[in-house]
């Protein structure tokens, strides 16, 4: 790979971005370690100190923002993201989505394993004996509608961006963020008024694992949308090139589809 048509050594001759040493991967790993340690300790009743977990979450988000700031600088102000680099970033994100897909696949496997041949310990029925499952036509249906709508507003925002319509793009993205936020709030209330917990038989475990995994990703997705809103507001995303925006859209639609499966399996079929 080389620069064929510029006989000069003013510019680098390859299209790749050779990144400089960055502290963020290491800091992020430390942050994640603390977060998981505290989460596990809390779930096993070793500690009930929510404060440490809160600090961990704030640290993680802060490191994420600093890392994103560096990437934004490299993309917008230094112009390091050539089409080859964008291609690589996009491919990396697609691979990440594949790992997510496998994660969901594993969790669904656990669900079907327990649901299709319920063991004798849970009364050989699904949902297990004396579990009162949630009403599928209640809040979960509302959540489904909101996520599907957010997919539509996301597309609206994307098309407006490609047509260089700044206001419509920002408005669509704002609506998507709002719907994502509302989804998280509704999930919170759903969990709050739920009659069973993570520790109530295998049903509670797989249910909260699946919906919780999805909910966590919606939170991350909403954060990504906020970042994109910031970039859109600051004229950083162009009508032709918006790799970060594209990958966020991919994640959001992935979550849409994953939720449809979660809804059908966990709320509608499995009760």
């Amino acid at each position: 790979m080389m620069q064929k048509n510029m006989k000069t050594n003013l510019y680098q001759s390859n299209p790749f971005h050779l990144v400089k040493p960055s502290p963020w991967p290491m800091y992020l790993v430390f942050g994640l370690f603390g977060f998981l340690l505290n989460l596990t300790m809390m779930m096993h009743n070793i500690t009930d100190n929510y404060m440490m977990l809160l600090i961990n979450v704030i640290t993680l988000i802060y490191i994420g923002l600093l890392w994103s700031r560096d990437i934004m600088g490299e993309a917008t102000y230094l112009g390091e993201h050539t089409s080859k680099v964008s291609e690589g970033l996009n491919m990396g994100f697609l691979l990440f989505l594949m790992t997510e897909l496998m994660w969901f696949f594993g969790m669904f496997w656990a669900y079907f394993y327990s649901a299709l041949t319920p063991s004798v310990e849970i009364g050989e029925i699904w949902p297990p004996m004396s579990i009162m499952p949630m009403q599928a036509t209640d809040l979960p249906l509302f959540n489904t509608l909101m996520l599907l709508m957010s997919g539509a507003t996301m597309t609206y925002s994307h098309h407006a961006l490609m047509a260089r319509n700044r206001f419509n793009s920002m408005f669509g993205l704002f609506l998507t963020m709002l719907l994502g936020f509302l989804f998280i709030i509704c999930q919170y209330f759903e969990y709050y008024y739920c009659s069973y917990t993570l520790a109530d038989s295998v049903y509670g475990s797989v249910f909260f694992m699946l919906t919780g995994l999805h909910g966590m990703h919606v939170m991350t997705g909403t954060l990504l949308l906020c970042l994109n809103f910031y970039r859109l507001y600051n004229y950083q995303l162009t009508s032709e090139k918006h790799t970060g925006f594209n990958t966020s859209i991919l994640l959001w639609h992935f979550l849409d589809v994953a939720w449809l499966f979660v809804y059908i399996v966990c709320y509608y079929w499995g009760v």
């Binding site: 048509n5 003013l10 680098q12 917008t76 260089r164 319509n165 009508s239």
Partner: protein, 161 residues
């Protein structure tokens, strides 16, 4: 006392918030150094300092890449607008078998380039990696294909490697 002094020092320095866009919105708008410039075409992009866009005219429209792209990204875009593929990312074409008298010429920006030979016709053998050097004939030991480096990089750069 120390804290107050530190705070005062910090407050007089330019604040670098979430990204440098704060500086763009600050009042110091016209202090761009003279060597920085805008390039509308490849001929205007004479140095890395000239790889900036003219900026967006309509604040109500989202900018296009031509308006705000910078750096190598801009250079690639400007080249593309003139129909030039700046970075040659395609595999080498092997349309004939190079002989010692008439080797296949391989363009290179560097005095040294590695190529992978799969024989002729292509794919007739496993890849053999060959190191080409400027002014030296290289021959694949399996298929006998001959290659020669065609240096197209800037002059005066040849002794670096």
């Amino acid at each position: 006392m120390l804290a107050r002094t530190a705070l005062r020092t910090a407050s007089t320095r330019p604040v670098r918030l979430f990204s440098t866009s704060r500086l763009v919105f600050s009042e110091k708008k016209n202090d761009t150094p003279a060597e920085f410039g805008v390039s509308h075409s490849l001929s205007e992009a004479t140095s890395p300092n000239k790889l900036f866009g003219p900026g967006t005219k309509d604040p109500k429209a989202q900018p296009s890449s031509f308006e705000i792209a910078t750096g190598l990204d801009r250079l690639e875009l400007l080249a593309k607008m003139e129909g030039i593929e700046l970075f040659d990312t395609q595999p080498l074409v092997q349309d004939r078998k190079g002989t010692p008298d008439d080797p296949v010429l391989i363009d290179s920006l560097d005095p040294i380039r590695y190529i992978g030979c799969t024989g002729f016709p292509k794919g007739s053998q496993e890849v053999n990696w060959i190191r080409l050097e400027r002014g030296k004939l290289s021959r694949d030991w399996e298929s006998g294909c001959c290659y020669m480096l065609n240096y197209i990089g800037p002059e005066g750069n040849a002794s670096h490697h």
